[in-house]
Amino acid sequence: MQITLSNIEKSFRDPSGSARRVIAGISADIAAGALVAVTGPSGAGKTTFFNLLSGLLLPDSGTITAGKTELTKLSERERDRWRAKEVGYIFQTFNLLGDLTIIDNVVLPHILIGSGAKGDLQKRAVESLTALGIGDHLHKYPHQLSVGQRQRVAVARALLASPRLIIADEPTANLDDASARIVADAILALRGRSTILLASHDGRFSAVKPDLTIALGGEAGHA
């Protein structure tokens, strides 16, 4: 999925009422299937940037075009649908719904957003979870798994519907070495097929040269 950012800006009002500019005038052309490294110190606005690109937030100004869709012109409901269909999101922590089993965590959201038939989704989920080394824990609850295993579940869920855009926000932070390797391999394996936006301090990712780096920080980021 090709993504075009045109001078996007985003500010938040802090509790005192004063505006704090988080994203300032970013423009970029991201080719379909590209691996994009999003860098910047903590608090530089990486999460906000990802939320803008996934249609969760709208920029105060500027446009975001993903494929042929101009996100900034869509209603919230249309953006929800677009995100459900096109985006796979992996965060650093708190990826799973604690009351659902592992298999339900992977499959149920996709059923709710209409990604496919239950049987097919279930089959693919089992295959994916097995490939990620947690095929024996399908009916356990997240609290019964280690942090690394939980993150692998999140990866399985994010990749289940073969999204054209993958957003990975520190996906391997706090993981044990084995889990981090599995997660990193799973994400990088999609390079060329899906556009990958990645923010990470993990050396496994640093070793791979990105197609594009977007550096955030200070008053404005730049591509």
């Binding site: 919230e76 985006v87 999101y89």
Partner: protein
């Protein structure tokens, strides 16, 4: 369809995830509704019994000093103590009165277990119109006829023998056992749905024999009366119970005396007349020193009024409980919403719309309410069904456990409506939560 299934799986998982709060919320609704249902069932049973009794025995003559309600409760429902004695001549005079089509003596003084023993005659039992097994003539002073509940609970049938206990209802009033007078069960009434189910009938002459007539050989011990046991040592020998009444003239602080029905004494007379005017005439005539005459229909109306007020109070408190339950559900739901911000934000990030999340929250609240309503309905009717006998004995009327009381449909609908309101509030709150924006700000 599969979306609906996924939707319900999420909702049920969420409710299971906060099981304690869910159970408390469901129980709060259920208890409130069960109170309304039980009140309706009991009210209906008592009202029905009172109405039928008023129709069957429009006039009751009892001792002076008792209120109409006390007389109705002790004579018709057998759940209160008789408040005094009247001479047998009252019965005889009433029976001979041309305006009276039927009159029946009532001499209540003893009990077996929690069931009262009513001294009367065979005519009274025939007049009940109940079907029965065995013989209900009460020809001999040792004959007894059991109500259906008594036979079932005490596991007695025709031919069984038992002794009575002085006093009413197995309480502290039940002073001592009449070990010398053994009753033999001669007949068992089929269930009638009336207070007779929970009563034992014997001849009024048996009551006289036991309490001071020729057959009164004294009491075997005074169980549970403490000091009074000593006071009544002289009962062992006395033959004439009138002496006893003179000797122990302290009825005000001594219930025991009330139950000593010596020869020629009854606790009440039930009478039926040709028309309501005659009831009024007889009531005037028999309201004189030593006697109270009760127009049953009138007394039943005031009794019902009193009971309806009690029912309204119970319903009011049930309504209050329901409101508290609704507030509790709302508070729990809103607290849970706050606690689940991150989970709900995750659903939004996964592409699940704001409306869908609001519906999830609404459905959770509705499920809690509907579960409470269903459980409340079941508890409110199953508990009376399981304890029908005990409740029947307690209120003196057989209950219909699946009767829907007048206030019950309104309470059920009210609970559902309240649930809907709470669900809508929770849904709006969930819909207006800007989960992603808030998490992004933080």
């Amino acid at each position: 369809m599969r979306k609906m299934n996924a939707f319900f799986t999420l909702v049920i998982a969420s409710l299971k995830g906060r099981l304690f709060a869910t159970v408390v919320s469901v129980l709060a609704v259920a208890v409130a509704l069960a109170v309304v249902a039980v009140t309706g069932i009991v009210s209906f049973a008592i009202a029905k019994q009172a109405f039928e009794s008023g129709r069957k025995y429009p006039l009751i003559v009892a001792a002076e000093g008792a209120s109409e309600t006390q007389i109705i409760l002790s004579t018709i429902f057998h759940i209160d103590k008789p408040r005094g004695k009247i001479p047998f001549e009252t019965y005889e005079t009433l029976k001979k009165d041309p305006r009276v089509t039927a009159a029946f003596p009532v001499a209540a003084a003893d009990s077996v277990g929690v069931f009262p023993i009513i001294g009367t005659n065979g005519d009274f039992l025939k007049d009940l119109g109940a079907t029965y097994r065995g013989d209900i003539a009460l020809a001999d002073s040792h004959d007894a006829v059991l109500g259906a509940t008594v036979a079932r609970q005490l596991l007695m049938d025709i031919g069984a023998q038992f002794t009575g206990t002085h006093g009413m209802g197995g309480s502290a009033d039940a002073a001592h056992e009449h070990a010398d007078h053994t009753y033999v069960v001669k007949g068992v009434l089929d269930p009638t749905g009336g207070p007779e189910d929970a009563a034992v009938y014997t001849s009024y002459k048996a009551v006289w024999e036991i309490h001071g007539g020729k057959g009164h050989k004294g009491h075997k011990g005074h169980k549970g009366q403490g000091e009074e046991e000593e006071e009544h040592e002289d009962h062992e020998d006395h033959e004439d119970h009138e002496d006893h009444e003179d000797h122990h003239d302290h009825e005000a602080d001594h219930d025991h005396d009330r139950y000593h029905l010596s020869d020629g004494m009854l606790t009440a007379v039930l009478a039926r007349t040709g028309n309501p005017v005659q009831v009024f005439e007889l009531q005037q005539e028999y309201s004189r020193p030593g006697l109270t005459a009760v127009n049953t229909a009138g007394a039943v109306r005031s009794f019902q009024k009193y009971f309806n007020t009690a029912g309204l109070v119970a319903t009011f408190f049930a309504g209050l409980t329901l409101l508290i339950a609704a507030a509790l559900i709302l508070a729990i739901t809103l607290m849970a919403l706050d606690a689940r911000r991150r989970e709900l934000a995750l659903l939004r990030i996964l592409g699940i719309g704001r409306g869908t999340i609001a519906l999830l929250i609404m459905l959770e609240t509705l499920i809690v309410t509907v579960a409470g309503v269903v459980l409340g309905f079941l508890l409110g009717h199953l508990i009376p069904a399981l304890f029908a006998d005990r409740i029947g004995v307690l209120i003196g009327a057989s209950i219909e456990p699946w009767h829907i009381g007048a206030n019950e449909p309104a309470a059920l609908l009210g609970a559902l409506l309240l649930g809907q309101v709470v669900a809508l509030i929770a849904m709006l709150r969930a819909y207006r939560m800007n989960l992603v924006e808030e998490s992004a700000k933080n």
